[in-house]
Symmetry: C2
Amino acid sequence: MATSDSTRQGHQKKNERRSAQATAVLRMAGTVRQLLSETGHIPPASRALVELMCLPVTALWCRVLRFDPQAPTWPDRDRFLVPSASMLPLLDIMLSLTGSSGPYKTPQNTHTEIAPGPASYGIAAAAGMALGEQTLASRFGRSLINHRTWAVVQDTDLASGAATEVAQLAGQSGLDRLTLLVASLSDSPSPELITSLALFQASGWNIRKITAGDLSSVTSALAAALRSRKPTLIVCSPSPARKSSDEQNSLPPAELTGPWSLTARRGASARRSWLRRLVRHRQRSTFQREQMEQLPPLLSEDWLRTWRWHMRRSHDRSTKNASLVAFHTLAGLLPEIMCLSSSALPLPSDILTDHTLSPPENSTVICGSKAEGMSGLMIGLALHGGLLACCQAPLIAADRMMTALRMVAFMRRKVLLLLTENKLNQDCLSGGLLSAEQLPALRAIPHLAVFRPANVHETFQCWEAALRWKDGPCVLSLTPDENPDTPFPKSCFGSPSRGGYLLQHQHAPQVTLIASGSEVAIALEASHHLAKQEIRTAVVSLPCWKLFADQPETYRQKVLGGSGIRVGIEAASGFGWEQWLSPGGVFVDMNALNISAQTGTSYDRSGSIAEAVCEVVKHHLFASGMMRDSLPQAGLPSVDKNAESHSGKVIKQEWKTQQWQSK
Amino acid sequence: MATSDSTRQGHQKKNERRSAQATAVLRMAGTVRQLLSETGHIPPASRALVELMCLPVTALWCRVLRFDPQAPTWPDRDRFLVPSASMLPLLDIMLSLTGSSGPYKTPQNTHTEIAPGPASYGIAAAAGMALGEQTLASRFGRSLINHRTWAVVQDTDLASGAATEVAQLAGQSGLDRLTLLVASLSDSPSPELITSLALFQASGWNIRKITAGDLSSVTSALAAALRSRKPTLIVCSPSPARKSSDEQNSLPPAELTGPWSLTARRGASARRSWLRRLVRHRQRSTFQREQMEQLPPLLSEDWLRTWRWHMRRSHDRSTKNASLVAFHTLAGLLPEIMCLSSSALPLPSDILTDHTLSPPENSTVICGSKAEGMSGLMIGLALHGGLLACCQAPLIAADRMMTALRMVAFMRRKVLLLLTENKLNQDCLSGGLLSAEQLPALRAIPHLAVFRPANVHETFQCWEAALRWKDGPCVLSLTPDENPDTPFPKSCFGSPSRGGYLLQHQHAPQVTLIASGSEVAIALEASHHLAKQEIRTAVVSLPCWKLFADQPETYRQKVLGGSGIRVGIEAASGFGWEQWLSPGGVFVDMNALNISAQTGTSYDRSGSIAEAVCEVVKHHLFASGMMRDSLPQAGLPSVDKNAESHSGKVIKQEWKTQQWQSK
């Protein structure tokens, strides 16, 4: 009897406590609703959304969310994402009520984990953060890393490609600490929503449908999310009678310090014990270094040594291979590297035997053809902190990663993106799109540095420069094309780490050949041809435009040279090249570079291509009257007069259509 | 008894015929396999694929596919797509066996419906073609349009975002004449494939799994696809024992004219009867005009008249509104217009009342947030012929449509893309990405013309120029920002239809302000301010770079002006602007344009912004020694010295980060 009494009393106590918490939450929700009604300039559409999500979000913040208003940048805080601008007012009110200050736009207020953008990318970023949490937890244990990721989105956001791809990736790597709160305004689920839910379910997500107005169902859904072994999707639809919790007479915020301070106290104490654990943790220094995004001392020396040591064994001299070795050696030195890849990163066979160089299996996620989802995860990894995200994909997929790159660049986060170009002959013979054509689009993104190294030596220097680039993300565009056996000459002036340098120089050059990547070898070959015909040339390699543009005017002038015609050579569209070509300069693109490809023979970067470049150069020297030579023989690519622009002739990219129309 | 006898005989006959056809197909498959084994340079991975799909594709071509080798461009042919380069050898053999000549790379051989690219876009393009077929059939009836679309893809292609988005769109509009043959090499379906199939099923597709080696199941699957009321997906997996049909001793092609000529005869007779129906068809002339992609005579006159007539009633002077009216009036005149839109195209309220202007409901597909899938459908519509695809989306989504745009531009097909910019103040206040930043990436695509009209008048002229642009797709970038009430001055020299023109000109200008879109109004305002301070200015509007670059040098010189500083003004990254700025030119971007946004006040294009521009201009005039004025007062955007390039200073896009870091 006594026992049963005590149990009964226990139950009563529990019920009372629960009801007390419930009332607290409902009162909060009432206040939030009141504050919302007071805030002006919310468009009606988003107002409905915000009011729908009012109770679930309040319940989350009151009861579940792990955060400390005093320490907004606490590494082990729960991440709460509001990706779409329409729901930001709700977040704003939550922040003001928890005593966190600052408009949500600025990162000073780091409760705001992400800048508003396409909402589907918010979902992707949330998954990325959960992935980061998972990886760090496996390294440092749950004593240091033990938080969750929450995102508030709208049902229409689930249908877009980025979301569907990320849904599959999240299911694949079992991100059980990721929860999406989905606002669905329509009382009955739309066919689109049904489809999306089917996909999420099939990809291994928990789906729960709740009435946003009913506190008990909200609480149980949140509890289920905490228990779940899968990523969770909570669909919040409006209750048939919307009045559910409007009866709660809302009280002035002054009185609401009670429940909130409760929440805040919970967070603060959690953080204090976390700090105690951190002090005792044996990997503390590493953890702190990574959190502060500092590189270990003497990194570059060790890196360069190991890289050299491995490269001496490799016979494949392509920049792709050199960069692969650079990545693997770096991954050995930097445990914070997290790699997303469209395919497994193979080591060249002649190095594979070496077991000191183990690819970071544990921290590599293979994303297959889901380039957009991968780029979304990249955002999350970049924002989570304590990780250095490396992404590997074919350059042709860059278009699908552009939005994510823009967002990362806009938020000035650091990401390394390794893009592999197709072999040029492959491009030409398949008759499809040119991979290198994405380069201008990438270069146009502010704060994003694009590196296109020309040989093994440059590759490492570009890697290092990319690692030191503080302004935002970096892209390394690499080619599997083998370098010719003839090694490059030593740099006459400058170095690749300054973005551009003088590779070869004759006194008072009549022509300056400017190229990047595979095309530098062509430029060197062409300069030899021209030298035979007593035309003085200089050859400039331009691996990174942004770095080069940051150099002082004098340096740039000295590299590019004052006199003589400037000839740009790149297997891409000439857009943007005018800034390096003086008036009267020329841009030579696939039109000339693919003569051999058009004739069906495979693309070799010596021989025919270089000769074609020489013809173009001689043609323009003659036209500009700098050469009193006989007219160059026929067979050179015609200069499209229409493409003349006042700052340099640009030969339009005609080769494809020529090939296209040819029998 | 007699009856039963006759029926029995009938059955026998049928069985004999069926078996005869079966043997024919199997013999063909044998030959194809033999030819495949003879063709060299097929990478092993794709060889397995090709051999797997050998029998299904042969059966399709022998028994089902509707084509006439003599008339490869027959409008009512079945479309057969092989989007990925890896399976092209199979198509190649099919073509050679059907007596169609030419390598598959060139469009001379129009059996090849699409250039090789990302395979998921091949799926999307196939759906687009089926959509085109559906639309045209509803206009001209099944007597003229009665074909199907088939595509051969790999299971991994189904997972990518473009494919998932298109799967939903295809299901949504019930494209029952679309069939995908999916090659799945693994004997047991991978979890990824299972997920994709779940999505396709949920989006309303028929799924059939067959053994590629078993002819009967192949035939029944094809028959089911012909009967189906939904889009069909046929998953072809290898038979446990691969030897299924290798027993067929393969015969030399010489002997195989039998079955092929049968197929060819079937196609030829089908086409002959189609031609007879065409002659009798009452919409014959329209059909032929649209097929030849000719515009009706006097189109522009009628179009301009109706457009003017509607515009006089509209009070909203934004280019977005003007372009909406232009689109609706055009849709009234050109029935071949097919519209894909991310949202319903609303007419401005003051015109809506007018019932002569009905939006083309029947030929509009709402794609919601599925921008990538929409762009994929666009490819298909562009390739199908007889349709003019118009696509409408927010400019911020342009990134996700880039791949499709590249492909359409590469294949030189015509598409109209209407992209709506955000209101600038909206961009700034939401603190998110800038929509206008996509412009350089779009301008960098060869053969793609980007139009950015500045006012109502320019909008129509740009529309017309876009309609006449033969080189490839067109993009119109429009803004909902209202134009200021002060109307633009008449053009002093040139016209918008030439890509750029002189809007305002004072004798021997010291400064030429070059702008596009909303920024032209700022330039005009600034020129007024400068005029007050006795600085002579010219204002140039540059709605389309490609058109302007195609103008003769003399025209461009006269518009841009020889003397004086050139100042580019655009709310985007300055990448590529150097080609219009003479050495010493300046580019003014958001840094200056968003001073008001930073201070929180909403973006107005007169006042503060224009004054900021003036300050920049005066600063540079002074620096260049062309103005003996007092130093301009403080508060002007600082010129980032690092951003100097030898062909013009470019003020780097700093404002966002300023805003981002500001409290």
